[in-house]
């Protein structure tokens, strides 16, 4: 199967990282597509939770926002937002937090707050939302983002949510027991943290992608794991299910009622 886009490859690779018994806190956008693709393919029992309070939801179309009616209609139950953050996220009930972001650094810290200085920003981004506490309260974190020199940067102007910290040692130094980012899935490859330094290192390269292309789209010298494998291309079934849900989604969100 070669007829797929880098974004499709990214979503499919991210979906593959999820297991049937995961309890997943889903960010909007690419994470939501990956989580629902997993649910509709190899992980039908995966538990998806959105910060709007919907527990164990099974949307038929991808939500445009974190609180679409579709999420509530198809959930096992819906709780208030304070309860979601207190009992479910902080309560330690979530195995995987799935995040995206505007900028990332080599230790998988994320910035979604500002470009430039905080008080006089060049670009004001939306802010952290649930991410700061998702990043430390979930068992582990998956991140999915398209790579570019502007998004994969050597130094973040602002740390909105912590990955492995500015030096890779912050989580351990602070006594945080959760794992932090264990996987970063891009449109080019998959990174995992180096067991020692925690720097995100390429472990798998998507079909047709070169190391040069990865470096061109990364703002720091890319490190590779000792063993780097080739990401299997999307299967026909993966692509079909993904395109189906995206077509349903486009149709559902297109028209004003």
């Amino acid at each position: 199967m070669t007829d797929f886009t880098p974004t499709e490859m990214m979503t499919i690779a991210a979906a593959r990282a999820l297991k049937n018994d995961d309890v997943c806190f889903v960010g909007i956008g690419a994470p939501s597509a990956a989580c629902n693709l997993a649910r509709l393919t190899h992980a039908p029992q995966i538990t998806l939770i959105y910060e709007s309070g919907t527990l164990q939801t099974r949307p038929n179309v991808l939500p445009l926002s974190i609180g679409d009616g579709e999420l509530c209609d198809t959930a096992l139950t819906t709780v208030s937002v304070p309860e979601m953050f207190r009992y479910w996220l902080q309560g330690g009930r979530i195995t995987i937090g799935f995040l995206g972001g505007a900028q990332i650094d080599r230790f998988a810290n994320l910035n979604t707050t500002v470009v430039g200085s905080y008080d006089a920003p060049k670009v004001r981004l939306p802010g952290g939302g649930g991410a700061p506490e998702i990043a430390t309260n979930c068992g582990e974190i998956f991140i999915t983002m398209a790579q570019s020199p502007r998004s994969f940067v050597a130094g973040l102007p602002f740390v909105t949510s912590m990955g492995h910290g500015r030096t890779g040692r912050e989580r351990r130094d602070m006594g945080i027991k959760t794992k932090g980012p264990t996987r970063l899935i891009t449109d080019l490859c998959v990174f995992e943290p180096d067991p020692e330094t925690k720097e995100m290192s390429v472990v798998s390269i998507h079909p047709g992608v070169t190391r040069e292309k990865i470096q061109e789209n990364t703002g720091w010298p890319v490190r590779y794991a000792a063993e780097v494998v080739a990401t299997p291309a999307p299967t026909a079934q993966e692509l079909e299910v993904l395109r189906d849900i995206q077509a349903r989604t486009k149709k559902a969100h297109g028209g004003s009622q």
Partner: protein, 282 residues
Amino acid sequence: MARFMTLHDAVAACIRDGDTVAMEGFTHLIPYAAGHEVIRQGRKGLTLYRMTPDLIYDQLIGMGCADKLVFSWGGNPGVGSLHRLRDAVENGWPHRLQIEEHSHAAMANAYEAGAANLPFAMFRGYLGVDLPKVNPNIKRVTCPFTGEELAAVPAIRPDVGVIHALRADRDGNVLLEGITGVQKETVLASKRSIVTVEEVVDDFGPLNRNAVVLPSWTVTAIAVVPGGAHPSYAQGYYKRDNAFYIAWDEIARDRGSFLAWMKENVLEKGPEAFAAHGRPSA
């Protein structure tokens, strides 16, 4: 006990220039009609609380009603930026906007603490991030038993809480169902409250498992405004107008087109205009 009033009178009675105001609704049940009424009545100097400012605060900020915004995620969900919010923060238009920024966990806990009449909220959060460096309202508190440090933020206790609900009964009890967000907490944490509703019913009838009921004596004013949450949605009444959220990106990108839209659709209209978006009559 809650009083039934017109939306005009409810806003006139409850919201004053300079008040702290929380208009809540987490994607679902955002009180747009009430926000438009505040704009029409020309309120100034408001401190606005809201987890996700959404288009409703883009409109209030762009029309110059707000001096300060307390928030945790300021985007157009699934679409992109809130251009009026960005223009205020980046360029000071129509005037400089002070911001106090939190995470969702902080604000959700702060509303919960407000409803519980506590002076502050504590939670496991803000670890390894830069927000505490720019927000002096993020502190730490130490567990007196374990010595562990937790994040602390002040409770949210607004002058006025504004929400949109599904129904009120004739006694003024209010029903929410579906994604209920922080709306119950917003009403309970506020000194005064305005609730707009889709309709008034004799009896709430069979209710969903997560229904939330606010007794009449917790609410100041109720205004019946069918469609009053448009372009957000009211579960069982009408769907989210995703197309409008997408269209807003173009409308709000430019100051002129924003002002023209506000004139035509807010300043020259009244709450009854929302009825076109409500549930079609049987």
